[in-house]
């Protein structure tokens, strides 16, 4: 048999053995190619135009390269370790290291580029679907055409070529550094089989849990007013990140082993089959995997967190548009309102109109704030609020000495929490009217032009008129009449919206259409969500594959154990039960911790992104968990095969 035959045989054998590696390669290539095609697609300009979409896509593609290359390099280390025996054997029979390297290179070349080409073809055929999804999410009208982008092809080839070179360098260093003996021993020495639990480990374990818990604690406090200055806020954020990441690392390094050891001790040496396969095996390996698991956990927490946030803001686009624009159309001055109404009349579109007089007043709200707002920019004794009379708001009656605030969302609630009641003072130019604050309603009645993000104060008509006469001109807006127009028949809304777009309004009045606003937010958030989801998917699949490879490796190592256990009289079913528990831990621990991390991250700041938290967050988490579990199930199937072969 000459070298070429050897190479060919190896190749054939490896395709069968490493089908998952091949799959991972094809998958990464497909993913990358589809993404790059997107980047070069002219049809995308429509979506990219609104925000710096092109830049976002490019930045994402750089990240994608990072994910893919780390993944491929990692996968390669596992596979070269598994072949160390073969390499040792070649050396033993007198092959030089250079020659072995050449064999590996040729073999890898065939494997790598064959899967790359298949991957590109798959990516190409999926690129249309990907674009369609993007259009669907961003509500863009456009037909996706299947077109093969040469630039994308070249870019993909270059990127994967560079990764190939990196892999080869790694293999070269691996072969160069090894002696024959070490190569034979490598599989047994990679996993340190440490013995007893030391005190240090217990301390590390406890510290890990403390770090994570304190990170969570600070994150819950982040926006509730405990940190008021910008500086304190950023210090708090950094310390959350640091303590959670460090805590996660220590958790894997010590806590898991420590907790499992407690469980094991309690059995006093009398372990059931499930304990043997799950507890003891995880204990031995969790420690050496600590860094890898930390990275996987942290990045999946980030991925889930970002996905949740972008989905939250996408999901609540319509609702938050309603907060900013309380009617179908919000027009801030009477002249524009008149011209729009005339246009509607011409087209015979029925509508209802709502006019509200608004003045801006200063108010002393020191007594009703939950927290002191210590900031040079804000003076809580003279904050500016829009004020309306009770007569302009239907269904509200207010006594002469009372004030009701209306128009609040969770973001405001977090930034500036009001008490249920208390004393406030409304200040005109000269007059100061003391009032009893009676509460805060959620409903918005004015557009952002008038509110500037503050709730509107509703007062008795008498008080309103008094302050109107005494209004401070320096804080008044140009317009003092809000006109809200609701279209009576919803079917006419798109037509009315078109009209609204055509009319030339006076320049600086920020008139708004609610659907326009919802659509534009959907478009912006849709693109971000799409990119985050794409990256998240890439990451999910690569990290799932890495854990799966790790399990494949482990199952090969533990095969002799299964042989023993089966000889002792355990059935395949018994063993598989233990394996299932083990995989529940192996895949479940990083997942659960990742979900927990992202849960706390989302809880601390979701109100900055939208109005709805539970539904979008739970949807994202369930989808992520489902996709992730596929890898757990695959690994159990692999174990099943190994156990079956064991006897």
């Amino acid at each position: 048999m000459n070298i070429n035959q050897l190479i060919f045989r190896n190749f054939k054998k490896n395709v069968k053995n490493y089908y998952l590696y091949v799959f991972a390669l094809m998958f990464s290539a497909a993913l990358y190619f589809a993404f790059v095609t997107l980047q070069y697609d002219p049809a995308l300009d429509a979506t990219k135009g609104s925000i710096k979409g092109g830049a976002a896509v490019r930045a994402a593609s750089v990240l994608l390269v990072a994910i893919v290359s780390i993944f491929l390099l990692y996968a390669n280390t596992i596979f070269i370790k598994r072949r160390s025996k073969e390499i040792g054997l070649f050396q033993l029979i007198g092959m030089t290291k250079t020659r072995i390297f050449r064999i590996l290179t040729v073999e890898n070349f065939m494997l790598y580029f064959a899967s790359l080409i298949v991957g590109i073809l798959i990516g190409f055929s999926f690129s249309k679907a990907v674009i369609m999804i993007l259009f669907k999410i961003t509500d863009t009208k456009g037909i996706a055409k299947l077109h093969f982008s040469e630039e994308a092809l070249i870019q993909t080839l270059i990127v994967f070529g560079v990764i190939y070179l990196l892999i080869m360098t790694m293999n070269y260093l691996f072969i160069k550094r090894q002696t024959i003996l070490a190569l034979f021993r490598v599989t047994s020495s990679t996993e340190g089989k440490t013995k007893k639990i030391s005190i240090l480990e217990i301390i590390i374990g406890i510290l890990g849990i403390i770090f994570i818990a304190s990170g969570y604690y600070i994150s819950a406090k982040l926006f509730d007013g405990s940190f008021t200055s910008m500086n304190a806020l950023s210090i708090a954020m950094v310390s959350i990140l640091a303590s959670v990441i460090l805590g996660t690392y220590l958790f894997y390094k010590g806590s898991v082993r420590f907790l499992l050891n407690l469980m094991r001790k309690s059995k006093k040496g009398y372990l059931s089959i499930n304990d043997v396969l799950s507890l003891s095996s995880i204990m031995f390996r969790m420690k050496s995997n600590a860094l890898l698991l930390t990275v996987i956990t942290t990045v999946s927490a980030l991925a889930i967190g970002f996905l949740c946030l972008s989905y939250i803001s996408y999901y609540s686009a319509e609702k938050s548009a309603g907060d900013y624009v309380p009617n179908d159309f919000a027009i801030n001055n009477s002249k524009d309102a008149a011209s729009f109404k005339a246009a509607l009349d011409r087209k015979k579109i029925a509508y209802t109109e709502k006019k509200i007089d608004v003045i801006q007043v200063k108010a002393n709200v020191k007594n009703i704030l939950e927290n002191d707002l210590e900031s040079p920019m804000v003076d809580s004794s003279a904050m500016i609020f829009p004020m309306v009379s009770e007569t302009s708001v239907s269904g509200v009656t207010i006594a002469q000495n009372e004030t009701l605030f209306t128009g609040s969302n969770d973001m405001l609630q977090q930034a500036m929490a009001f008490k249920d009641s208390g004393q406030i003072e409304l200040k005109g130019k000269k007059k100061v009217i003391p009032q009893k604050f009676i509460g805060l309603n959620r409903k918005f009645i004015l557009s952002t032009y008038f509110t500037s993000g503050m709730p509107a104060a509703i007062v008795d008509d008498h008080v309103f008129n008094e302050l109107k006469k005494d209004a401070d001109p320096s804080i008044q807006k140009e317009s003092s009449v809000y006109t809200g127009i609701d279209i009576s028949n919803e079917d006419n809304l798109p037509k009315a919206n078109e009209l609204f777009g055509e009319i030339k309004f006076s320049d600086d009045s920020l008139n708004n259409s609610r659907i326009e606003m919802a659509v534009s937010q959907k478009q912006n958030m849709g693109l971000i969500m799409f990119i985050v989801a794409f990256l998240g998917l890439a990451f999910l699949i690569t990290s799932g594959c890495i854990l799966y490879f790790k399990q494949m490796d482990e199952s090969e190592d533990e095969k002799p154990n299964y042989t023993i256990l089966r000889k002792l009289g355990f059935t395949e079913k018994d063993l598989l039960k233990g394996i299932k528990i083990k995989q529940l831990f192996n895949f479940g621990i990083p997942l659960v911790i990742g979900l927990l991390h992202s849960y706390f991250a989302v809880q601390s700041g979701w109100f900055l992104f939208g109005t709805e938290v539970w539904t979008p967050m739970i949807i994202v988490m369930i989808v992520y968990t489902a996709l992730y579990s596929i890898f757990g199930i695959l690994s159990v199937l692999y174990y099943k095969k190994i156990i079956k072969e064991a006897l």
Partner: protein, 253 residues
């Protein structure tokens, strides 16, 4: 009383075009409490014989009965069940789980049978003291010597009080001191616990501890030697002679 009866067992490997017959009609009976050695040259089929007797491998023809149960007709699940209650194993390479301590390894068969934990600990204490490994109970296999590992393995085979123990070259990886230690312990356990032991070995010294030695040649029984009332030394000489005849180089002229 016969504890194991195997009649006319056949075993072959390979497909129908390339069939390799390893066992060609072997008959064996083993009595309760007997210590039986199986000897033979490499490739004579002794390990295969042990594997089929111990239900790890299937036979192609014949019957094997242990305590009246015909194991050659059992399903995989029944077999596993049978193994965990009736059989114990000792292997040349110890086959201990590296991830478990000595005690955990030994107690493993009891957990299959769901023995109450108090009983399990009592059994462990008695057996481990008898084999002289009680002090090692919290050590891991990688921390103890080969002889100690093999005694641990023996303890695991005896802990659930099986009726048959199968040992595949148990002394193969041990030095002569550790080997004779182990064999003395095995003989002792064989007497006290009246478990029958079947041991494959190619070491005549090890075989001389047995009460009966079966010689296998080319998949068939060549001869059987009984120790009877002889001394171990005399039995050893017998074995050596037989082995000389059996394994002697055949001259063609």
């Amino acid at each position: 009383m016969n504890i194991l009866e195997a009649t006319n067992i056949h075993k072959s490997y390979g497909n129908k075009f390339n069939r390799q017959e390893v066992l060609k009609g072997v008959d064996i009976t083993i009595m309760k409490g007997e210590f039986v050695g199986i000897m033979g040259a490499s490739g004579s089929g002794k390990t295969t014989l042990l594997n089929v007797l111990s239900s790890i491998d299937k036979i192609n023809g014949g019957t094997i009965k242990i305590e009246g149960n015909e194991i050659s007709r059992m399903k995989e699940k029944q077999l596993a069940n049978f193994r965990k209650t009736h059989l114990g194993f000792i292997f040349q390479d110890y086959n201990l789980l590296d991830t478990l301590t000595v005690k955990e390894n030994i107690l493993l068969p009891l957990s299959v049978a769901k023995t109450p934990s108090a009983v399990a600990h009592k059994k462990f204490d008695a057996l481990a003291k008898q084999l002289g490994i009680y002090e090692l109970k919290d050590k891991y296999p990688s921390e103890i010597s080969g002889g100690q590992k093999q005694r641990t393995s023996a303890a695991r085979a005896f802990i659930h009080e099986p009726s048959m123990i199968f040992a595949d070259e148990p002394t193969g990886a041990l030095d002569s001191k550790a080997a004779s230690d182990l064999l003395n312990k095995l003989t002792e356990l064989n007497d006290k616990r009246s478990a029958s032991i079947v041991m494959v070995t190619h070491d005549p010294v090890a075989a001389s501890y047995c009460s009966k030695v079966i010689f296998i040649k080319d998949g068939q029984i060549y001869t059987q030697l009984y120790k009877g009332d002889q001394t171990q030394k005399a039995f050893f000489d017998d074995i050596m002679k037989t082995q000389g005849v059996l394994g002697g180089v055949q001259h063609e002229h």
